[in-house]
């Protein structure tokens, strides 16, 4: 168990280190000279001297590894500098925008989990029924729909045609529903399909037959045994879903003008605001790493067999 976790932690820390290196490279090797950008940002006409001065001030004349560690020290203290576009401290901007994004992701996550489990259970309980086929059609549609386009359709129908909600939201909970729905539809489609096939595989297992043969109630077999066994491999998928959502809100937020981190980053990309992009890359990577680690922990707790499976056996 310790070894297993250790391996995971090694991989995840490797990811984190690589991310910081990439972020660092991003800030330094990008087509914009940070010193020049700084001078321009302070509304001065850059002269060679000033740039040199700022360069020394920012530590850009130091060797590259030292620059990296300086940058890392600053990053740990949440000092990422200022945004080229808004002129604010990046940390402040992120602080304001992180919460709405998190709310959006949370609502989507709840939608996804509820819809996945209920639709999956119903489909597996009545396989090949009309309902099952409808869900199958929904799955194919959900997997194929371009989310931003779907978002615009919803926006057009609900905001432009029927005027149920304002077109531009200010981050109220009630206007979070449409973007959350848009975000979750494709993920529900993927997850329902997975859970359904997991459930159907499990229903035909010997242990279900034996559970019935020793007189357990049907609902108990379905919830305590079949669902438990089918959900175990889904834990990792749900964690990935969460991380994917954190990274994937960008397009949807800009569609619905949701005042979150995603919309903020899209604006920064259009403005080629690299310091902000760097911070975003860092945040998303950290979320990814943390949720993966959490998923592994839950997996070990729920499924002791994880530790027991060994890889290839035929070696020659």
């Amino acid at each position: 168990m310790k070894k297993y976790l250790f391996g995971k932690v090694v991989i995840l820390s490797a990811v984190l280190i690589i991310v910081t290196v990439i972020s660092f490279i991003l800030t330094n090797i990008s087509s914009v000279d940070p010193a020049e950008a700084y001078v321009i940002a302070h509304s001065q006409i850059p002269t060679e001297e000033q740039i040199q001065e700022v360069r020394v001030e920012m530590g850009l004349n130091l060797p590259i590894h030292q620059q990296y560690f300086n940058w890392l020290r600053k990053a740990i203290n949440l000092d990422f500098g200022t945004s080229l576009r808004t002129g604010n401290e990046i940390v402040d901007d992120i602080k304001i925008t992180l919460m709405p994004t998190f709310i959006l992701v949370l609502i989507s996550m709840i939608l996804i989990i509820i819809a996945t489990i209920s639709l999956g259970m119903l489909c597996a309980q009545y396989p090949n029924s009309i309902f099952d086929h409808l869900v199958r059609v929904f799955n194919i549609l959900g997997m194929s729909v371009p989310t931003f386009w779907f978002g615009y359709l919803l926006l057009y129908v609900f905001a432009v045609k029927f005027r149920f909600i304002p077109v531009i939201s200010r981050g109220e909970i009630e206007s979070a529903f449409l973007p959350a729905l848009t975000l979750s539809v494709p993920l529900i489609a993927f997850n329902v399909r997975l859970l359904r096939s997991n459930l159907l595989d499990n229903v035909n297992e010997d242990y279900v037959l034996y559970a019935r043969a020793r007189g357990l109630a049907e609902w108990r077999i379905m919830t305590k045994h079949v669902l438990k066994n089918s959900l175990a491999p889904m834990i990792t998928i749900f964690a990935q879903t969460f991380a994917y959502l954190m990274a994937g809100t960008a397009i949807i937020e800009s569609v619905f003008s949701w005042p979150g981190m995603g919309a903020y980053i899209i604006k920064s990309i259009t403005a080629r605001d690299f310091p902000v992009i760097t911070v975003y890359v860092l945040i998303v990577a950290i979320v990814f790493v943390c949720s993966n680690l959490l998923a592994d922990l839950i997996n070990i707790w729920m499924n002791p067999k994880v530790l027991n499976c060994s890889g290839g056996q035929n070696d020659w």
Binding site: K3, L307, N308, C309, S310
Partner: protein, 272 residues
């Protein structure tokens, strides 16, 4: 012909808590096959009998110990890749359906060792496969089929045909009859006896079923926990086995463990 001296084999396995545990599959095992005939090794699961079969056929490399082929000492690793030895040693795997590539025709499966190990032209190759399929008493029609279209007994026969394709001197059978119905099982075993007589080769049966061992062979070794606990070279009656563990295995056979009254009422003819 083939002889192993003091071979050891360990491998790592994960236990219930995910810790790696070393398993001694073979502990200081000596075994040899010399004269033509049928040999058998009996053991329960985990006794290391399958590992021994794999070491004898070169599929697995042992950690230490010596392997002799016709009195020359072989390096375990090169033993497997030697074409001469590949032609003369064959291992028939337990799961006869899984041992055939599902995407290949039966003809290709049987012809595979011939193509790899003997250089024959197309028509001789075809004749050879045809004669093999006759030898295992199958119809020629199966040659164009795939593995999933055949029954358990037919699959076993195809595996046997592939095993004798290169006329090997030693064929090792890992659980030759598991998963077969009793009637088919007997037919297969009788077929193997006939083939052994005709080809004058050595056959080694690795089995958990002591009845199969007693039926097929006069030279039976019993394995327990990676060791050969007893080897009887010329079995004539059950009392030849003297070690407690062997007696336990024999005792576990229902036919010998039945109560006296039932024994009296059951009089069936002896085939062994």
């Amino acid at each position: 012909m083939i002889k192993v001296n003091g071979i050891n084999k360990r491998y790592l396995k994960k236990d219930g808590r995910g810790n790696r545990v070393e398993i001694n599959a073979l502990k200081d095992v000596d075994y040899d096959l010399s004269a033509e005939g049928i040999y058998a090794i009996v053991g329960e699961s985990g006794s290391g009998k399958s590992t021994l079969a794999k070491v004898l056929t070169g599929v697995e490399v042992c950690d230490s110990g010596d392997l002799f082929w016709n009195d020359t000492r072989m390096v375990s690793a090169s033993f497997f890749n030697d074409k001469e030895i590949r032609r003369n040693v064959h291992l028939v795997l337990q799961n006869s359906k899984d041992a055939l590539n599902p995407k290949m025709s039966i003809y290709d499966c049987i012809a595979e060792p011939i193509r790899n190990l003997c250089k024959l032209d197309k028509s001789t190759e075809y004749q050879r496969v045809e004669s093999l399929i006759k030898m295992v008493e199958l119809d020629e029609k199966v040659l164009i089929k795939r593995a999933h279209e055949l029954s358990g007994g037919e699959l076993k026969r195809v595996n046997i045909a592939r095993a004798i394709a290169t006329n090997p001197q030693l064929i090792v059978f890992d659980e030759a009859t598991s998963g077969l119905d009793v009637i088919v099982k007997k037919k297969i075993l009788d077929l193997l006896k006939r083939i052994q007589e005709k080809n004058a080769c050595r056959m080694l049966f690795i089995t958990h079923d002591i009845e199969v061992a007693l039926y097929m062979s006069k030279d039976i070794a019993v394995m327990q926990k990676g060791k050969i606990v007893e080897r009887v070279q010329n079995v004539s009656c059950l009392s030849d086995f003297r070690v407690a563990y062997s007696k336990l295995l024999i005792d576990a056979m229902p036919v010998f463990g039945m109560s006296v009254t039932q024994v009296e009422s059951a009089t069936y003819k002896s085939v062994g």
